[in-house]
């Protein structure tokens, strides 16, 4: 097991390196550098520019160095916890990110748990009652959930919440807690607001998971050992739970890997519509103003979050399934 964990973590390093290269290329793509346009803008507004500050920034982030130098500096800085400088906010990136990253993780985790809680019983029901009305109905609802883009769903929800309740459902906490230090009340307020984005983001993932669980369980149920178990008189419920369900569970854990990127993608978009204080709105603002260090760090964060999520699911899977940890294969 330990050997497997080490191997699995070692595989992660080149992946993260490759991701950081792609992100860096994206950061470098816009023509010109930020400082030039920044100085020009300030001068156009008639404000004075502190040459020392510009010089300091130019020095610190090596605007004159070669791309390779700058890349190494950027990655090296990140390893030491220096994520670069947001020119828009005139703050180090880590200060801008702060709570937002935590809230992004919170929303994503809550969504995954929600997805599981909903998908699990429905998937089992659909598989054991194949071609019943319940199965058809649930499959249809699932397909609708799969097909309706979640940011559009968020828009529609916003509209109906406004019509029926006359309130806004946006945000992730009561307005009075914004910029307040964390407290019990604030946490409760977050929990109260959390379910809306979680449901909205979770719909498509839940639908997909129900379909996959149903297909997997159906495959298992058709195997001969189930027939044997039934023929030997094992009660239906035990014949379901004891073996087929356990076999189908493996994929359930492995599925985090495919679920996580889409959940994070969805979360970013829904966050803009519902104006959640997660990374979504700030990422878009950073991209629009081409504040590339901020945007790049965000991309890097999100990608790392996914890679780590996949790692956790792989480790869980290895723990569940000896075939994987002994053969040393990659889970998916």
């Amino acid at each position: 097991m330990i050997g497997y964990i080490i191997r699995r973590i070692l595989i992660m390093i080149p992946t993260l390196l490759a991701i950081s290269m792609i992100v860096f290329i994206i950061i470098e793509l816009p023509p010109g550098d930020y400082l030039e346009s920044y100085v020009a803008e300030l001068q156009a507004q008639g404000e004075s520019v502190d040459p020392q500050e510009i010089e300091f920034l130019r020095e610190r982030y090596g605007f004159d160095a070669s791309p390779v130098d700058r890349y190494l500096r950027w990655v090296g800085g990140m390893l030491q916890g220096d994520f670069g400088y947001s020119f828009e906010y005139r703050l180090p990136v880590s200060d801008v990110v702060g709570d937002r990253l935590f809230l992004t993780i919170l929303v994503s985790m809550a969504t995954i748990i929600f997805t599981w809680i909903i998908a699990f019983p429905i998937g089992i029901y659909s598989a054991t009652h194949q071609y019943s009305w319940g199965d058809y109905g649930l499959t249809f609802i699932g397909l609708l959930g799969l097909a309706t883009p979640n940011f559009l769903l968020a828009l529609i929800l916003l509209y109906f919440a406004n019509v029926t309740f006359g309130t806004s459902i946006g945000g992730l906490m009561d307005a009075k807690y914004i910029d307040q230090p964390w407290s019990m009340d604030k946490a409760m307020s977050v929990l109260e607001h959390l379910w809306i984005p979680v449901v909205v983001i979770g719909t498509s993932g839940t639908a997909g998971m129900i379909r996959r669980l149903r297909a997997n369980l159906l495959d298992e149920l058709q195997k001969q050992y189930v027939v044997t178990a039934r023929a030997k008189g094992l009660p239906p419920f035990r014949a379901l739970v004891k073996y087929p369900l356990r076999a189908a569970l493996n994929f359930f854990v492995a599925d985090i890997g495919t679920l996580l990127p889409s959940i994070i993608s969805g979360a970013e978009l829904v966050a803009v519509v519902l104006s959640l204080p997660t990374t979504g709105p700030i990422l878009i603002a950073a991209l629009q103003s081409q504040d590339m260090y901020l945007a790049g760090s965000f991309l890097m964060f999100l990608a790392t979050l996914t890679v780590v999520g996949v790692l956790i699911s792989d480790l869980l899977l290895a723990w569940l399934d000896p075939r994987i940890r002994l053969a040393g294969g990659v889970a998916r």
């Binding site: 080149p14 992946t15 490759a18 991701i19 792609i22 994206i26 793509l29 816009p30 023509p31 598989a127 054991t128 009652h129 194949q130 397909l143 609708l144 799969l146 097909a147 309706t148 883009p149 940011f151 559009l152 828009l155 529609i156 916003l158 509209y159 406004n162 019509v163 806004s168 946006g170 149920l221 058709q222 189930v226 027939v227 039934r230 239906p236 014949a239 379901l240 990127p261 889409s262 994070i264 993608s265 969805g266 970013e268 978009l269 803009v272 519509v273 104006s275 990422l283 878009i284 991209l287 629009q288 081409q290 945007a295 965000f298 991309l299 999100l302 990608a303 996914t306 890679v307 996949v310």
Partner: protein, 391 residues
């Protein structure tokens, strides 16, 4: 095969009472069965596909919508950029058949406009004294039909002096229904164009990986894994934010399509690779080789047909991703830019919650997006089932 365990709780022991006659072959074939056994692969697929009702309906719906983009000018009651300065943010008008109990035929009432001086909100009320009949194949805004000829015939328009805003108007007084009809052009073609690019990328890259195997395969797999571990939408956003502002809208359109396709090919490439790997090992392939078939014949006659049906099905299933990607990007203001009108660009105006609360009809472009996405999903589902007709 095996029904669920619960249903089979009480199986009875079954013994056939028919006398056993060894003369009758148990593989006797009826006419219907013979037709089935002799049918070609594509015919079997077609039969199987038509059994999936929802897929057939979705296919017809999609054919109709794609046909509509050929004649958008004729279908839309107004031209794309016609501004009705007197009707800014006008709500949808409804079509009536009866006025005070007497039958008139389809018509709309006139609208009265008043500015609420307290909150400066525009208030539109129906004016029941004015009746405008709807006319069909009538003359309205002039348009240039695909640059071929000029015309002004529309499918439907109101009587002279009246207006017909079935889905309301936007902040410049443009008819939303007309803009949705025109927007279909961009939104639907971006899906096809994007899938064409990502399909060819997937065929080449997945094909090479599957055919050569070994180190090439390994590298391709790792690259695909890296790309797939990015959350797609943030990466799309970053790439499209980088596009220079100075580019023309048409160039942006193509660039966005390429960006969407560039991240979409990975899933398809994996499908191509694994399919080629498994088909290559199949007995019939070996048989063809032993009988002296050339590689070109094996690939063209045996591998590709087995591959294509699956690929078309998975490609159909990934068209919605591209359409949605465009919608999401344009919705956020990072995608297509206004002179070009897509459904996402239309939705961009509904980004603000206040707008949604005051003028809810601005989110109506959601409806065609959702319908098209659902239709593509059902169609792809049906195609995927049909792709393996022997199952």
């Amino acid at each position: 095969m095996t029904p669920s365990p619960r249903k089979t709780a009480k199986l009875k022991h079954f013994v056939s009472s028919e006398p056993f006659d060894p003369e009758v072959p148990d593989h006797a074939v009826s006419a219907a069965q013979e037709k089935y056994y002799l049918a070609s692969q594509w015919k079997l697929m077609w039969w199987k596909f038509t059994r999936h009702r929802l897929a057939v309906i979705s296919g017809i719906f999609l054919l109709l919508t794609y046909f509509s983009i050929l004649i958008s000018e004729f279908l839309a009651p107004y031209a794309l950029h016609t501004r009705n300065v007197d009707f800014i943010f006008a709500p949808p008008q409804s079509v009536h058949l009866f006025d005070e109990g007497s039958f008139i035929g389809p018509f709309v009432y006139g609208t009265n406009y008043r500015l609420n001086m307290e909150n400066l909100q525009r208030v539109y009320t129906e004016d029941k004294s004015k009746i405008y009949r709807l006319k069909f194949f009538c003359r309205g805004d002039e348009y240039d039909f695909w640059g071929l000829f000029k015309s002004n015939v529309h499918l439907i328009c109101p009587e002279k002096g009246g207006t017909l805003f079935l889905l309301g108007t936007d902040r410049l007084g443009r008819d939303i229904l007309s803009r949705i009809v025109y927007g279909a052009r961009i939104s639907l073609t971006i899906g096809l164009l994007g899938i064409a690019i990502s399909f060819s990328l997937a065929l080449v890259i997945g094909g090479i990986a599957g055919y050569y195997g070994g180190i090439v395969d390994l590298i391709t797999q790792r690259v695909i894994e890296v790309i797939q571990s990015f959350p797609q939408i943030p990466l799309w956003m970053a790439l499209s934010a980088v596009l220079p502002v100075t580019w023309s809208p048409l160039l942006i359109y193509f660039a966005i399509t390429v960006i969407l396709a560039m991240l979409d090919w990975t899933g398809l490439a994996r499908a191509v690779r694994s399919k080629i790997l498994s088909l290559r090992e199949d007995d019939y392939c070996l048989a063809a080789q032993l009988m002296g078939a050339r590689p070109r014949r094996i690939i063209g006659r045996h591998l590709l047909p087995g591959l294509m049906s699956h690929l078309i099905a998975s490609a159909t299933l990934s068209i919605p991703t591209i359409i949605l990607g465009e919608t999401a990007l344009s919705f956020l203001g990072l995608g297509l830019r206004p002179p070009i009108t897509s459904w996402g660009v239309l939705l961009n105006e509904a980004q603000n919650i206040n707008v949604v609360a005051l003028y809810p009809w601005l989110i109506l472009p959601v409806v065609p997006v959702v319908l098209v996405i659902i239709a593509f999903n059902f169609l792809g589902d049906g195609l995927r089932d049909a792709a393996d007709p022997y199952k």
